[in-house]
């Protein structure tokens, strides 16, 4: 059983402001953390390995600093870690990122199961997992809230699709994206920290990718362009109701009545 977990290092905070004059970002802190959804994906992988045997490899695309995230993954129990890192990957959108990841998966000889977090906390798109599955031509189930069973042939999962809960079975190979609260990620272990201190982290550049197709990577391979960034608008009307609680309540009830928003009117 070969399990791949896709992870991403994200900014520790999403507190960021835009300069309304220039449209440029007023910088985010440089602190990073592991995307919390991906920790659930890693935990899911480790539990499946405990049940079915095999290996868990963590894959990411990003700067070499992602090494600290990979060390944490080792401390949780991952067997191998691979970082796809090259300046040629910079500026990747969903299409280029998922393509590059798919090249990483192929380089590693494929996998029986690929696990991703449902989404990242910086991009919020929830698109990389399904896009990666499409590049690899394998089925996927997204927003998985529970794994009900797994065996040598495949896996049974529960997905919450708004008002419907769907239980499905997928045979290997397949890809799942998991919900944040589907499992509680284990804490890094000090024993594993010592054991894995010398374990190498493989860094893969563009030249090692199987297809080496520059037109599909980075900014060149990204069909979407961010034209500009701007702060969210605040709309205002601001009618003040004044004169103490009694008058204010009178005024508001009169307004609601006029707008037909009182329940007695709504029912009628």
């Amino acid at each position: 059983m070969k399990i791949l977990v896709c992870m991403k290092q994200v900014p520790a905070t999403s507190q960021v402001e835009v300069d309304p004059e220039t449209g440029s970002l007023k910088r985010l802190g440089t602190d990073t953390r592991t995307n919390p959804y991906d920790l659930s994906a890693l935990e899911t992988a480790l539990r499946l390995r405990e049940q079915l045997g095999g290996t868990v490899t963590v894959l990411t695309m990003g700067p070499a600093q992602a090494e600290s995230m990979m060390r944490d993954a080792y401390m949780m129990g991952a067997d191998d870690a691979v970082i796809l890192s090259d300046r040629k990957f910079a500026g990747s959108d969903v299409l280029a990122t998922s393509y590059t990841l798919s090249q990483g998966v192929r380089l590693l000889g494929g996998a029986d199961l690929i696990l991703c977090g449902r989404q990242t906390t910086d991009g919020d798109t929830a698109q990389i997992g399904p896009a990666l599955a499409e590049h690899l031509g394998i089925p996927h189930a997204a927003w998985v809230s529970e794994i009900t069973s797994a065996d040598e042939k495949g896996i049974e999962v529960v997905q919450n699709l708004a008002s419907v809960e769907q239980r499905s079975r997928l045979n290997w190979p397949c890809l799942l994206t998991v919900e944040l609260n589907s499992v509680v990620p284990r804490l890094p272990s000090y024993r594993l920290k010592r054991e894995t201190a010398d374990r190498p982290i493989r860094i893969v550049g563009f030249d090692e990718l199987p297809e080496r197709n520059l037109s599909l990577c980075g900014l060149v391979g990204s069909p979407t362009r961010v034209e500009k960034m701007f702060p969210p608008a605040a709309k205002a009307k601001n009618v003040h109701l004044e004169g103490g609680p009694e008058q204010e309540a009178d005024a508001l009830v009169a307004i609601l009545r006029e707008k037909k928003l009182l329940e007695t009117e709504v029912r009628a």
């Binding site: 999403s14 919020d124 399904p130 979407t224 601001n238 309540a249 508001l252 009830v253």
Partner: protein
């Protein structure tokens, strides 16, 4: 222009592509694979080939030639437990607004099991020119892979410039597969759209947890895929003389074949969600304690609505996290929302500022919530809300 490229060096003659092609368009001869005119560019072969010997090839074009070949707006009409998802009507409304700017038509496509064609008929009064239906018992339940095959079939025949999909759990699972298949761009979770005369779709979405809005374009590729947030766009109005038609599309067993076996579909028993609610009352940090929350709850009940919470309230345990409004919670667009003791941080506001009528009650005259409120009451909720409750119960007695 997209074409299919065949790399004979990588092919090991396994013939899986020939077998899987839903249209019987492939054959393998002495010269390797050949494609005949039955090909609809659905991409099943590209997906099937274990050696990636078959790929889509997009000839880059920057002179607008690509744009001219892709016309119209296609809306994916999502079904949920056999009924149309309400986001569908919002997408049609938005699609019609965008289409009018460049003289496009609006189309819709449905994929699903039994009853799908009947749902398709329900879209015609809303001014859709043609509704394409892929109905097959194999499409019961959501299977991302074969839903994508059916959608790809529709897209390759219609060649729409824009494809709009609801940013629901289902839509955000389906859309990425399609954008990869057509080697084009996809913007997730758009909250605002516009159409340029060049037919470039302006896609605006919150980024960095909603602290920034990003305006995104797909200028050199078609179709342009966007998933659109539920409850952000205005629902389509009915048109006086609908002229659209429903077209049943042939579904082959191969198209409905999936790597996903749906074992069970269970309708989650739930009350009206806060997204669907017309009247909401929000308890913020100013509600302080259980007594304050209870006051707000009584107000919600008296108005016939539901009680919601800000993030601090949900985190402190005073509020139900599933009723949390804001970027990390739900986005609501109610007719009336009364916020009690809510400061109105931008992350909260982004989740509710599409509401028609916003009433803010807060003791702090500087609270941000007053910037977006339609009606401002700078006062203590512990005195105003009881006064409101008194009047509302009096009004109810009158009504009886």
């Amino acid at each position: 222009m997209t074409s299919i490229r065949f790399n004979s060096a990588a092919c090991d003659l396994c013939q899986q592509c020939v077998e899987k092609c839903p249209f019987g368009a492939l054959s393998i001869g002495a010269e390797g694979m050949s494609i005949n005119e039955k090909c609809r560019m659905c991409g099943v072969c590209v997906k099937t080939c274990p050696h990636r010997a078959i790929t889509f090839e997009q000839t880059p074009s920057r002179d607008g030639a690509v744009k001219d070949q892709w016309k119209g707006i296609l809306v994916y009409a999502e079904q949920e437990a056999g009924a149309l998802h309400p986001v569908t009507f919002e997408l049609i409304g938005e699609a019609r607004r965008l289409a009018a700017k460049v003289g496009y038509d609006v189309y819709a496509v449905l994929v699903g099991g039994e009853g799908t064609a009947a749902n398709a008929e329900k879209l015609l009064p809303y001014g859709v020119k043609e509704v394409f239906v892929y109905e097959h018992p194999g499409f019961t339940g959501f299977k991302a892979d074969c839903y994508a095959d059916a959608m790809a079939d529709c897209i390759s025949q219609l060649r729409p410039s824009v494809v709009l999909i609801g940013a629901t759990a289902l839509g955000r699972s389906l859309a990425p597969r399609l954008s990869v298949r057509f080697h084009t761009g996809l913007t997730a979770d758009c909250t605002k759209l516009d159409m340029r005369p060049s037919t470039d779709l302006v896609q605006i979405r919150p980024a960095f947890g909603g602290n920034v809005m990003a305006q995104i374009l797909i200028t050199d590729a078609r179709p342009q895929f966007a998933t659109v947030r539920y409850r952000v766009m205005d629902r389509a109005a009915k048109v006086p003389d609908p002229t659209g038609k429903v077209t049943r599309m042939p579904v082959t067993d191969a198209m409905a074949r999936s790597g996903i076996e749906v074992l069970e579909l269970r309708q989650l028993v739930r009350e009206k969600s806060i997204e669907e609610e017309d009247i909401l009352v929000v308890a913020g940090r100013g509600a302080k304690n259980e007594e304050g929350v209870a006051l707000c709850r009584r107000l919600a009940e008296a108005l016939g609505g539901q009680l919601c919470f800000t993030r601090p309230m949900a985190e402190s345990g005073l509020g139900d996290p599933s009723h949390q409004i804001g970027l990390s919670g739900r986005t609501v667009r109610s007719k009336l929302i009364i916020t009690c003791g809510v400061s109105g941080a931008i992350q909260f506001a982004a989740g509710m500022n599409g509401s028609d009528c916003i009433v803010a009650i807060n003791t702090d005259p500087e609270a941000l919530i007053f910037n977006i409120a339609s009606y401002c009451i700078v006062d203590d909720l512990f005195t105003v809300v009881p006064a409101l409750l008194e009047r509302l119960s009096a009004a109810e007695k009158e009504g009886e």
